[in-house]
């Protein structure tokens, strides 16, 4: 009986861990996306409101540093690319994690989960069938 409850406990821990993992990844994506949006706002503001020669104050940690505009834009853009890549990777990982969670919970695999998507042209061609 003791061994039995031990096994159940282990199993439940495994499920909980997997579920926790999924939740953390989701939260991470949300945080990164919020950062991405803030960067995008900054880029827009730089483009419209500051002239090219002017220097801008950039906040690093708890310090403001005056920086040339072009350099700042470049820096943020690089950051943006990095963020896009990270979010993409996390999303890919999230799929595998959800799959793993479903598997250990004994749920059936989602239909068409492993398919790679059709290109936009192909979807456009099939659309008349899809939007019935």
């Amino acid at each position: 009986m003791d061994g039995e409850s031990q096994r159940i406990l282990e199993y439940l821990t495994e499920v909980e861990e997997a579920a926790e993992d999924v939740l953390t990844t989701k939260q991470q994506i949300v945080d990164l996306d919020s950062k991405r949006n803030r960067n995008r706002e900054a880029l827009n503001a730089l483009k419209h409101e500051v002239s090219d020669t002017e220097k801008v104050k950039v906040c690093f940690g708890n310090m403001f540093i005056k920086f040339p505009k072009v350099k700042t834009t470049e820096m943020i853009q690089k950051d943006q690319e990095q963020l896009d890549k990270e979010i993409n990777d996390l999303r890919k990982g999230l799929k595998a994690k959800v799959n793993h969670l479903n598997e250990i919970q004994g749920k059936p695999e989602l239909r068409g989960y492993h398919l790679s998507p059709l290109s936009t042209d192909e979807i456009k061609a099939i659309n008349s069938v899809l939007k019935r």
Partner: protein, 459 residues
């Protein structure tokens, strides 16, 4: 694009003969594929149900495709019922096409075209669509129009989810589509990143007030959760026939040939096959072989059978289930006789499931199920009488008496069908045996009687 006359592709009409079998919910098997005596609307026929169950499992696992099954048995022994049971247990994801043998004979379409359309309807293709969308609740929308009325407009849109809030700068195009959709603060919207298409999902709950004057079509939704820029994946299942149809209608996509008959050219089909195989290799599509059910298969003629022979060999072929109630009979279109009216070479490829006549107990059960289905209360004695009628005449006749007796009972304002009601409808409606008896007695007074006027040949 020049306006070319695009021919309408005619679909073969699909008539589900569900009325008599509306009570069937599945095959009535337990997890070990053992049939239960009475379950999911099916009664008895244990051996054939078990056989059907094994085939069903193989279809579900995708182990068999391009095979054919024949359900053979006397009339009224549940052939269509078993096929319906298979259809119900396959679930909505596996395509199931039902077709009565006579449906393929049409003046507008050749027999083989009708058959190929039915074949291709029974094959599903699963594809995935992936879109990047921005989804959020509009907090504020601000549009600056130039005083002159013309020229570039500028604007800002603030969107939020439960987690974050951000400001977007709007270009001319976005402003136009936002005002076209009449987007206001408090609306929940999605913006398709690739096309810039805006769609309104509804109004946010937090903006709902007492005594709001809203149109009936306004929907209230929760403020979206999580990130603003989301990725949406949608899985669709379409049948090969549907893809054929778009490609014989429209230009573009896969270099097309559109003919001027109501039929789909074989070139189009070959191209679609090639494209779908390409998708499958790239991991973009899954092929789901479904089930094609041909009832009354003996009405097909020799040409159809030879077409079936060949179509079953194709790599994109569904599982074909056929049903027939014929014994050794002439194959249509020839002078040869063959078991079930099906050529021996095709018969050789079939798995044959036989159904046997129902016993008295089973007949009683079926009548009870049908009574429930048709909302007719039956007294114990009436049930016994009806079972006897079912055994002596036919099950179908007895089932038909249920609703008619129900009507008679309602007319005399009774709640339960009594033996008298059954007797009354039994005297009103003849069964097949009594009708033939009547013919024999009064054949002289009927027109075109063969014994009387052998010279008159109506065929």
């Amino acid at each position: 694009m020049a306006t070319t006359k695009v021919p309408e592709v005619r679909d073969i009409t699909r008539i589900e003969r569900i009325g008599a079998h509306s009570h069937i919910r599945g095959l009535g098997l337990d997890d070990a594929l053992e049939p239960r005596q009475v379950s999911q609307g099916l009664v008895g026929q244990l051996a054939s149900r078990r056989a059907a169950g094994i085939i069903l499992e193989m279809i579900k696992d995708g182990h068999i495709a391009g095979r054919a099954v024949l359900i053979a048995g006397q009339p009224g022994t549940g052939k269509t019922a078993i096929a319906m049971g298979i259809a119900q247990s396959l679930g909505p994801d596996t395509p199931f096409t039902a077709l009565a043998g006579s449906e393929i004979f049409s003046l507008e379409m050749s027999k083989t075209e009708a058959l190929s359309q039915a074949f291709r309807k029974a094959i599903g293709v699963r594809i995935k669509e992936e879109t990047e969308i921005i989804e959020g609740e509009v907090v504020e929308i601000q549009i600056d129009r130039p005083a002159t009325g013309t020229g570039a407009k500028a604007g800002k849109l603030t969107l939020k989810t439960t987690e974050m809030e951000t400001i977007y700068d709007l270009g001319n195009k976005m402003i136009d589509s936002l005002s076209k959709e009449k987007v206001q603060a408090g609306d929940v919207i999605t913006i398709d990143k690739a096309t810039g298409k805006i769609s309104k999902l509804g109004r946010s709950f937090t903006r709902a007030r007492d005594y709001d004057a809203m149109g009936a079509q306004t929907q209230f939704v929760q403020c979206p959760e999580g990130e603003l820029q989301k990725r949406k994946e949608v899985v669709h299942t379409v049948s090969l026939h549907e893809i054929d149809v778009i490609n014989s209608r429209t230009q573009g996509f896969l270099a097309l040939f559109s003919g001027d008959t109501g039929e789909i050219k074989s070139e189009v089909r070959e191209q679609i096959n090639a494209k779908v195989c390409e998708w499958r290799e790239e991991g973009k599509a899954e092929i789901i072989p479904g089930v094609l059910f041909i009832d009354e298969v003996h009405v097909l003629d020799i040409e159809c059978f030879s077409f079936l022979n060949r179509a079953l060999e194709s790599d994109l072929s569904p599982v074909v289930i056929m049903a027939t109630n014929r014994g050794i009979t002439r194959i249509r279109g020839t002078n040869y006789t063959s078991p079930h009216g099906i050529p021996i070479d095709l018969l050789d490829r079939l798995l044959i499931i036989a159904t046997s006549p129902y016993t008295e107990k089973e007949t009683r059960q079926i009548l009870k199920i049908r009574c429930e289905e048709e909302d007719v209360e039956l007294s114990e004695e009436a049930h016994t009488v009806l079972t006897r009628i079912g055994m002596e005449t036919s099950l179908r006749y007895a089932i038909q008496l249920i609703s008619t007796a129900g009507l008679v009972c309602r007319k005399r304002k009774g709640t339960e069908v009594q033996v008298e009601d059954i007797k009354r409808v039994y005297s009103l409606f003849l069964d097949e045996a009594r009708s033939s008896q009547y013919m024999k007695e009064y054949q002289d007074s009927f027109l075109f009687n063969e014994t009387q006027t052998p010279a008159m040949d109506t065929s």
